[in-house]
Every structure is written in C-alpha cells, then in structure tokens.
C-alpha cells in the first residue's frame, strides 16, 4: 500500500496504555476511493488503532509510529488544537453509537452544518443549501436542515444517517466508520452501507472497522485482520475470504459462514422432521391479542403467539417494530393494555406481580446487554448462588458450590471464574453467565431479547451453538427476539414477523425465510441478502 499518496497512511504504529502494549507495529493504508475493512474480535486492538490514527487516544496512551499521515499530512505529535483543524476537514468519523454522538438538545441541522461552519467560509445561506443537499443524499428529509428538530425526535437509523451526513458534508479525504451497522436491522444497515459507498465513490477513502467479516465481504476492497494488537493478515477481500491463512482469520470466516445468509439452506433438517408434532404439542407459553400503547404511539397493536416445549419461536422485525415490548409483556415487566398471556394454561399477565412471583422460576430472560443486569457488588459466585438457591444463598459452599460449578460448565465457562466480577468478563463470557443464571431456576420458557446482537461474530456463533445445545438438553421453550435474521434463522422453528406492532407473517422458519409472502418480510430478507452480497452496482 505504500508508495503513492493515500487518504490514510500508517506504518509501524504502536500504542501502549498505561505501559501495556495494546497495538504493536501496525501498518495500514487507505487510498482515495478505496474501502478497507479492519476486522478483528473485540479486544484485538482495532478501535485503539483507529483512535490513535485520529488523535483520539485516551490519556495514558503512548503512541509511536514511523509514519502516521492523514491526507498526506504528518499528524504525529500534533497538538489538540492542530488536530481540530484536521478532523472534520480531512477525516470524518462515524461512531457506533449514533444515539450518543448527536447532541440531544441541538437541532440536527446545526450538528450536520458544524463541519462547514468550522472549516469553510460559506455563508449561512450557502451552508443551509449544502446541509439540505447532504441530508437528501443520505435519504433524510431536507427540511431537517432548518426546522430545528433534535436528535431525540429521530429513530436510531435516522440518527445514524444524520451522523454520516455530518461526517461527509466537509468532503473529507478519509471517512472512518467504527461498527457502523452493528446495532441496526438489515434494512437500515443496507442503506447506511450504501451511503458510505456513495461517499467512497466520490473519492473518499473509507476505513470500516468491524467484527463482522460477513458484512465486509461484499463491500470492502481490501481486508486487514487484527489479532492481539497486530495485523495478522491483509489482502484483497476475495482472496482473504477464500483462503484465510491465519487462525484468527479462519475463525472469523467460519463464524461468517456458519450463520448462513438468507438464500442458502438453513439448518432446517432437524426442524422440519419434528415440526409436525409441534402443531399438536400444547403450547407452554401463549399470548393472545396483546396490545400496548405509550402516549402518542401504539407500540404493539395486535400480537398473538404460542410456543411449545423444546421449540424456538423467532420474533423478527425492524427496529421500532414493537418486538421488545412484546418480549417485556411476555415477561410480565410491562402490563398489556389488552390481551392475555398464559403460562402452561394458567393466567400470567395481566396479573399483579405478587401472584406471579411463586411461578417466576418457570420463565427466565436474557437481554442484549447483560452487563447492566449484574449487581456491580456481586461476583460470579454470588450471582449464581443467589439464582440457584432461590435467593437464599450468598456464598456457594458445599452442594451449592458444586451446582455453581456445574452451572458454569453447562455454558462452557471455567469454574475458575467464580471469584471474578462480571464486569471484568468479556462480552461473550458475560452473556454465557446471563444464560447460566437464566437457566438456574430450570425454567420452561426462556425469552431472549437480541441475545447476540452486541457480540462479536465468532462469539455470536459460539453462543448460538450453546443455545441450540441447551434447547436440546433441557427442552426449554425459547422466544428469540431479534432483528438479526441470520441468528433467528439458525435457531428458530417458527417465525413471527412483526411490523408496526402487528404480526404480518407467521409460519415455519424455512417457509418464512425461503418464500416470504408479506412485503415487509420480503424487504427484510432481501435487505439481509443484499447486505451480505455487497453493492448492487
């Protein structure tokens, strides 16, 4: 990559944090109009690399490099003041958390205009015109430029697009996108990638940081794979994907393949064989006519579902379709305005919590971000001892200790982790711990709300495998709520497609994904396919 002028040139970059080497000897180049993907599991150092290249290293970080140039300008040792002149004009940055990156109190139009106001001499009038054009280019209402709407009034996908508009409006030579689609459903993710692609075609160098090699496949020209702070493999996307050399790359490729994109055969064999009895089997959990509205919004208009023991019901839909509200009503955390939930033919919701408490152990939940569900004062030991003993055990000794070990081993965790705080575990370990806790009461129903969305592709693969095994071993019924069609397709026997709070399609998984009938389902499936395949041009 060295040789000619690039949007970004990095050579021999090393970063230490508090004296500990985190990134060693990384070299990376992005040419104008090129899309390079920096791929690796979390903790591999990819975010640290990118932040160092943007001058955003945390205090305590030591950055050294043989060459570090943005748009041919040496940025080593630049003062914060000089950096500000580089960012926005020469580099645009799109972070993962669009929710947090936009000021909730400032009009979005002003946020987008910032780069122009700071780095150009355009008049206010010209700026408004430029903002309108940019908003239109990313598929947002141009009126946002002036109507004073704030980020709080926009959906997650709209915010992500506004952020892209803000990053690209200054026509930077380099655009860095850190996990730009991870939190988005396939439809919005596709649009986001198309917008990044559009910027690339205007000559911007694009650096996409992600853990999802599947996403990279169709979009990136070149891939650099990071592992343990080093670049272990680099090359044209196609050749890296076809013949991965390094074990870390092989693991990522495997993960991307084993959750097949829509269109290839799903793991339907086992399921179709048993799908006949599922219709006769009595549902352990059933909901009829669920409705729930918040002031001004009908979150759930009409959802009915049933799931039998040992079966997995997938609930899919775009962000904001009401999936999570359905899950919360099933769990009794949210009271339905109308409709009922029954657990094993007994009333479950709506009921006062008091009347559910004795049966709480029969239903359990796993959520997207398990980190927040652990009391920070409790170690792993106490979390499981508490769950296994019905709240009576604090310390796991004797028989309870053996059960804690068994619970950890059941989810492939090392019993040696017992003394650790959940905060110090990796994302995958935390989610396994959350699953172990959920299964501790031997529930009949497990409600999983986006259980793998926040995890690395390789870890997703392992956790989905774990859930499959647990379903077969324990016969627990699962309600699997997700916008990630790949994950749902792998696990679900039956699928419910939710759109604007109502069920629009319902049937066996292979039928719904193979021959989607409702336009919403078709759109979701097509978006997932196109996201995996890359730009249509």
């Amino acid at each position: 990559m060295s040789g000619h002028a690039g949007a970004l040139e990095v050579a021999g970059l090393s970063v230490t944090i508090d004296g500990v080497p985190v990134v060693s000897d990384v070299s990376l180049g992005v040419a104008p109009g090129e899309c390079v993907a920096l791929v690796g599991a979390s903790g591999s150092g990819k975010s640290v690399t990118v932040r160092a290249a943007l001058g955003l290293s945390a205090t305590g970080a030591g950055v050294t490099a043989d060459r570090l140039a943005v748009a041919d300008q040496d940025v080593r040792g630049l003062s914060e003041r000089r950096w500000r002149a580089v960012r926005g004009r020469h580099v645009g940055y799109v972070g993962q958390e669009a929710l947090g990156a936009l000021d909730p109190l400032r009009p979005v139009g002003r946020e987008v205009a910032d780069a122009l106001r700071l780095h150009t001499d355009l008049s206010a009038r010209e700026r408004v015109e430029a903002v309108r054009a940019e908003l239109e280019a990313v598929g947002l209402d141009p009126a946002l430029a002036t109507d004073g709407r704030t980020a709080g009034t926009l959906s997650g996908g709209m915010r992500q697009r506004a952020l892209i508009a803000a990053a690209t409006i200054g026509r930077p030579g380099l655009l860095v996108a850190d996990e730009p689609t991870t939190a988005l459903d396939a439809g919005i993710a596709l649009r986001v990638m198309e917008q990044l692609r559009a910027a690339q075609q205007r000559g911007t160098g694009l650096l996409v940081v992600t853990h999802d090699l599947g996403l990279v496949a169709g979009w990136a020209d070149r891939v650099a794979v990071m592992d343990a702070g080093r670049i272990v493999e680099e090359g044209p996307t196609a050749s890296v994907l076809e013949a991965p050399v390094h074990p870390a790359t092989q693991a990522l490729v495997r993960a991307a393949r084993s959750t097949p994109a829509a269109g290839t055969a799903g793991p339907a064999g086992r399921l179709s064989a048993s799908s006949a009895d599922s219709r006769s089997a009595l549902p352990v959990l059933a909901a009829t006519g669920l409705q729930r509205s918040y002031p001004g919004v009908a979150a759930v208009a009409d959802v009915s579902l049933r799931v039998a023991a040992g079966r997995v019901l997938g609930v899919v839909g775009a962000s904001g379709s009401g999936k999570t509200t359905v899950a919360r009503m099933l769990l009794g955390l949210e009271t339905p305005d109308a409709g009922t939930v029954t657990l094993d033919r007994e009333a479950w919701a709506p009921l006062p919590e008091r009347e559910r408490r004795a049966r709480r152990h029969r239903m359990a939940a796993v959520v997207q971000d398990p980190g927040a569900t652990f009391d920070e004062r409790w170690d792993v030991d106490r979390v499981l001892a508490d769950a296994l003993s019905g709240g009576r055990g604090r310390r796991a000794t004797g028989a309870l200790g053996d059960r804690v070990d068994a619970a950890l081993r059941q989810v492939d965790l090392d019993p040696g982790l017992r003394t650790r705080s959940p905060r110090t575990l990796s994302g995958g370990q935390r989610q396994r711990l959350a699953i172990a806790r959920a299964l501790a009461t031997e529930p009949e129903v497990l409600v999983l709300d986006e259980p793998v969305t926040a995890l690395d592709a390789t870890v997703q693969d392992a956790v989905l495998g774990l859930l499959e095994r647990l379903r077969d071993d324990t016969g627990v019924a699962m309600v699997f709520v997700s916008h990630d069609l790949r994950a749902v397709r792998r696990l679900a026997d039956e699928v419910l497609v939710v759109h604007e709070g109502a069920v629009v399609e319902h049937g066996p998984a292979e039928a719904v994904f193979g021959r989607p009938e409702h336009p919403v389902t078709q759109r979701l499936v097509r978006a997932a396919e196109r996201l995996a395949a890359g730009p249509s041009a």
Binding site: I17, D18, R357, R423
Partner: protein, 307 residues
C-alpha cells in the same frame, strides 16, 4: 459517582469543592483487567497523605490532648494575660492568661465530635428521607421533595439557627442543628440513587428471578444508594466542622469556658488589634482541619473508585 455535589453547602456556595473528577472510562476489553490490577491498593497521593497525617494528629489531640497541649486549657493566670506567642506559650495566652495552644488542642475534640456526629445525624436523616422519597409513591415523594427544596432555599446557617431556637443552645443542639441543616443535601442524593437503582436492569433481573420487593430493596437498592453517601459524608465532615464553629462563634454552640474553636474566635474578636493570636490560631485550626478532612475524603474516594 461523578456529578455528586457536596451536600454540606447549598449550591453555589461550595468553597473547597469542585466537581469530583470523572475519570474517562477505560476502553472495554483489553484495558479493564490490567487496569484494575495496576490500581489495586491505590494510594492516596501526596495531598491525600499530608491530609491523612493532619487528621491523624487531630485524632490524637482529640483522644489525648495532654500529649500535645501540655498545659491545662482552663487554668486562669491573670498575671500572664495577653502574652504574645513565645517560649513559654507557643500560641500566646488569652485575656485570662489561659494558654491558647492548650485550648486549641483541647478544642479539637469538640470540633471533631461535632463534625462526625452532625454528619451522622445529617446523613442518617437524609438517607431515611431519601429512601422514603425514592421508594414511596408519588405523594410521599412530592411531600419530601417540596420540604427538602424549601430547606435548600434557606441558608444553611438559618436552618441551623431555627433548630437551635427550638432546642436551646449547647453542644448537643449544635450537632443536631448542623445535622438537620445538611440533611436535605443527602436526602436529594439518596433519592436520586434509589430512583436510578429502582429502575435499573439489576432490579428488573431480580424481579424476573421472583425476588420479593423487600429482598430487592435490601440487596440491590440500599447498597447502591448507601456507599456513595458514605463517600460524600466523609467530605461533609469538614463542612460540619466549619458550621459548628460558626454556631459557637455566635454563642449558641459550646458555652464558655469550655475550649471550642468558634467560641475562641469570638472571644478574640475584641482583642483583634492588640492580641491577634487569640483569633488567628483557632481560625487556622478550623481551616486546616476542615481542609484536611475534605482532602482526605476525596483521596479515599478516588482510591476506592480506582479499586
């Protein structure tokens, strides 16, 4: 923990306090583990160490005044009245010939005691009010909220004087007065923490596991609310020392002739031009002790947070 303001003073009056430093959270993954190891047994830092030494000396003075003060703080020697600081009397003598050093040392006990007890009273009352408001229904929350807001709007000293007006002057009423006057600050912090903890996913998870409301409150809500209050309370002690001295200065705290810094300041007022040492040394003592306790509290909190 960042963003908590010292409760000892109404907003905008905080003299020693800034906003507690919010350290940037470490990058996930790689850094977290190593970081916690590095900071295990975190130190107090230079300022914290000096403050710890000062507080230790004060504690010794409170427990065993004779060790530092030597002379009898109450012994009157009219012939030696108003002697400037010198060999015989390091801090000089007052209008009755009493040794100022001995009186400053002897006054430490009263000041420390009133600081600690008043903070306990204030923190305790605040926790009760805050938990009530945080856990109670809308009506309880509104009533407690309005009462604390009204108390907040009044200057702290005024609230303390109102309490004294009811109880009458004396050292114990001074403790209660300062305690009750600082309570609204703690109440507000506790209410916020309880509310946050109550709607947290930790509590939701406990509900999903079938825990009763009482169990959830005892295991998850109260611990989450109490530890930050203890941390803030250590900062509050320094402020309470200052306020208790202020009450004594006004003559409604510890009565004469018992040695008390605020009362000594008041006594020296008349002789400020001729015998400034009478007021200077107790004044310095107040400033040094209050500062040391506050700096130490902050350092302890940082060391605890790093762990």
């Amino acid at each position: 923990m960042s963003g908590i303001v010292d409760p000892g003073l109404p907003a905008g009056r905080s003299s020693i306090a800034g906003v507690p430093g919010s350290t940037p959270s470490p990058e996930p993954g790689v850094r977290a583990g190593r970081r916690s190891e590095r900071f295990r047994g975190g130190t107090l830092g230079p300022a914290g160490t000096v403050a710890a030494v000062v507080v230790a000396v004060a504690v010794v003075a409170a427990l065993w005044p004779a060790l530092l003060g030597g002379a009898d703080p109450l012994a009157v020697h009219p012939s030696e009245a108003l002697l400037p600081p010198g060999a015989g009397h390091l801090f000089g003598t007052d209008e009755s010939g009493r040794d100022v050093l001995a009186r400053v040392v002897a006054g430490t006990r009263a000041s420390l005691l009133v600081g600690v007890v008043a903070t306990l009273v204030g923190g305790g009352t605040g926790v009760v009010l805050g938990v009530l408001a945080g856990l109670g229904g809308r009506v309880v929350d509104a009533v407690v909220g309005r009462v604390t807001e009204v108390a907040f709007a009044l200057p702290l000293l005024l609230v303390a004087l109102v309490v004294i007006a009811v109880t009458g002057p004396g050292p114990v009423p001074a403790m209660l007065a300062v305690g009750f006057a600082t309570a609204p600050g703690y109440a507000r912090i506790v209410r916020g923490l309880v509310r946050t903890a109550r709607s947290s996913q930790v509590v939701e998870t406990a509900v999903l596991l079938g825990r009763s409301p009482a169990t959830v409150v005892v295991r998850h809500v109260l611990p989450a609310a109490l530890w930050p209050v203890v941390a803030v309370g250590t900062l509050g002690i320094g402020q309470a020392v200052v306020w208790a001295s202020a009450l004594s200065y006004l003559g409604v705290g510890t009565p004469p002739p018992a040695p008390e810094w605020g009362a000594m300041l008041a006594d020296g007022r008349t002789y400020l031009a001729t015998a400034p040492w009478m007021s200077t040394f107790p004044g310095l003592a107040i400033v040094v002790l209050a500062t040391a306790v506050t700096v130490l509290g902050r350092a302890l909190r940082r060391a605890g947070a790093a762990r």
